[in-house]
């Protein structure tokens, strides 16, 4: 422990010699005595002492404080200042060099020894801490890189799976077309079939048509991920109005009362937003079709947690849904009603979910008993 090597930086030779003697007497080794900062740095580079005892006033350009900073920063050598100046200004300047001790001359030999021992011990601890910190940073960086690599791998795997699903779905189209076509042609020959089988061609044909719809919806669903995003400032109220006008026009005879509040602008890709609104609002129109009039209200409220998002909502007076199955609403091809009750494959809300998530938003639904459904969705506020 006492074999530590020390560097003395002191421009008064008498004091330096006295200090060296005291150190040697206490069992330390002294690697050199420097009278100037420049000399101290040279000696320190050469001998790498475990500690420097540093006067503040030195010969040459660098004073003790400047020298101490170089020793700390460049060589990680701890410094104890030995100075006859203990005024506040000097102390403040000395603090900037982060010394391990500050002894005011004259000092006791025991006091010096204790300071040296504490410094050596504390510096050792600091070194271990720095090493540990460095190791943590390294591990963190590794972890971060690992996560990134893993994420990239998973994304690649997902893209591959979706690619396979896409190819399979696409290749089903041709045989489905054949099934539909031939069973359609067979319908002209039903008189040649036994009565019990006469409805089979139509059954085959309608199932082929349904499967073709499923394939189309699956492909459309998969395509959302590939669609490029060009977000811009969009007047969502205008978009809602336009989509509802078109959807209602496509169902002549429907009585629909539409209330669209003033809605704040959002940041969204106009094409995807339009697809989203078509899916969401056609769902609303579908499940209000027994109501005369169907009442659809579109409004918004501020987002409680995410300040940079708006919450928009669409409220209707339709059949609503059983809250117990709310999580199934947004699943691909899941339907809460009997398939023959409402047309479609159950892809609309799954598409809506995927689109709104791509645009950085969320969607969820509530159905107060006997009071229709409310679909909430969030979109980023336009900057």
């Amino acid at each position: 422990m006492k074999s530590a090597t020390l560097l003395i930086v002191e421009d008064q030779a008498v004091i330096a010699a006295d200090l060296e003697e005291r150190l040697l007497r206490n069992g330390y080794r002294v690697c050199g005595i420097a009278a100037s900062g420049e000399e101290a740095v040279c000696l320190a580079r050469e001998h790498r002492p475990g500690l420097a005892l540093m006067d503040i006033r030195l010969q040459g350009e660098m004073d003790g404080i400047a020298t101490a900073k170089v020793l700390r920063r460049e060589l990680d050598i701890p410094v104890i200042f030995l100075s006859s100046h203990s005024d506040n200004a000097t102390l403040q300047r000395a603090k900037a060099a982060a010394p391990y001790g500050f002894l005011v001359k004259p000092f006791e030999e025991r006091e010096l020894q204790l300071n040296i021992e504490v410094t050596l011990h504390k510096h050792k601890g600091d070194r271990q801490l720095a090493a540990a910190h460095h190791e943590i940073c390294r591990l963190n960086a590794n972890l971060e890189q690992g996560v990134q690599e893993r994420t990239a791998e998973l994304e690649a795997a997902l893209a591959e799976i979706e690619g396979v699903v896409h190819a399979v779905a696409h290749h089903l189209r041709s045989p489905l077309r054949a099934m539909e076509g031939y069973s359609h042609l067979l319908m002209t020959h039903t008189s040649a079939l036994p009565d019990s089988a006469s409805r089979f061609p139509e059954a085959i044909s309608s199932n082929a048509r349904r499967m073709a719809c499923l394939v189309d919806d699956l492909l459309a669903f998969l395509n959302i991920r590939k669609q490029p995003l060009y977000p811009t400032r969009v007047n969502i109220a205008d978009e809602v109005r336009a989509v509802l006008r078109e959807l209602v026009a496509a169902e002549p005879g429907r009585v629909v009362e539409i209330h669209i509040d003033e809605l704040p602008m959002c940041q969204a890709d106009p094409t995807l937003l339009r697809c989203f609104l078509i899916e969401l609002l056609s769902n609303t129109l579908k499940f209000t079709r027994e109501r005369v009039p169907a009442i659809i209200t579109v409004s918004f409220r501020p987002h409680a947690e995410q300040r940079n998002h708006h919450v928009y909502f669409v409220r209707d007076n339709g059949i609503g849904f059983d809250a117990r199955y709310a999580d199934k609403l947004f699943k691909l091809f899941s339907q809460l009603n009997r398939p023959e009750a409402y047309e479609g494959t159950g892809a609309g809300l799954a598409m809506a979910l995927r689109i709104v998530e791509r645009m950085g938003g969320r969607i969820w639904a509530e159905s107060p008993p006997e009071r229709g459904a409310i679909f909430f969705f969030t979109l980023p506020i336009s900057p």
Binding site: R177, A178, G181, R209, A212, C213, L219, N223
Partner: protein, 145 residues
């Protein structure tokens, strides 16, 4: 080989699609002369021939080519590109008739100079309607003039 010019050249590899196309043709009571080739190589052989019989080519050009995309050997895009770079077929009406509704395919067809892109319908009755539309759009007037 019948060398008189057909009205429609259908370039299609699927036997079922060909048969259903001909049933639709029959159902429509269409009088258009249909000629069928089973892939891109056959299509180019028929339309461009080889260097030795170029003089025949203009006489046998159809008034409309319906071109499938996914075919063995040369794809529909390969065929389209070749036909558009040949002076004799640069203006030949070519409609892509494919199962794909991918926008990338539509864009590529447009880029290579297809006159139109029509998705193959899932239902036979739509096939009948589309065939009638093809005849109306491309065969009813003298498009070439």
């Amino acid at each position: 080989m019948n060398m008189s010019a057909p009205d429609i050249l259908l370039v299609e590899d699927s036997q079922s699609d060909i048969e259903l196309f001909m049933f639709a043709h029959q159902r429509n009571k269409s009088t258009a002369v249909i000629r069928i080739v089973r892939d891109g190589v056959e299509a180019l052989d028929l339309l461009l021939g080889n260097e030795n019989r170029t003089e025949d080519v203009l006489a046998i050009l159809p008034r409309l080519v319906l071109l499938d995309l996914n075919m063995p050997r040369l794809t529909g895009f390969d065929v389209l590109e070749r036909l558009r770079t040949d002076e004799r077929t640069r203006r030949l009406p070519i409609v892509i008739f494919s199962s794909s509704d991918q926008s990338a395919d539509k864009l590529e067809a447009h880029r290579l100079g297809a006159n139109d892109y029509v998705r193959k319908p899932a239902q036979f009755k739509d096939l009948c309607a589309i065939l009638a539309q093809f005849e109306h759009d491309w065969l009813s007037v003298d498009v070439a003039s």
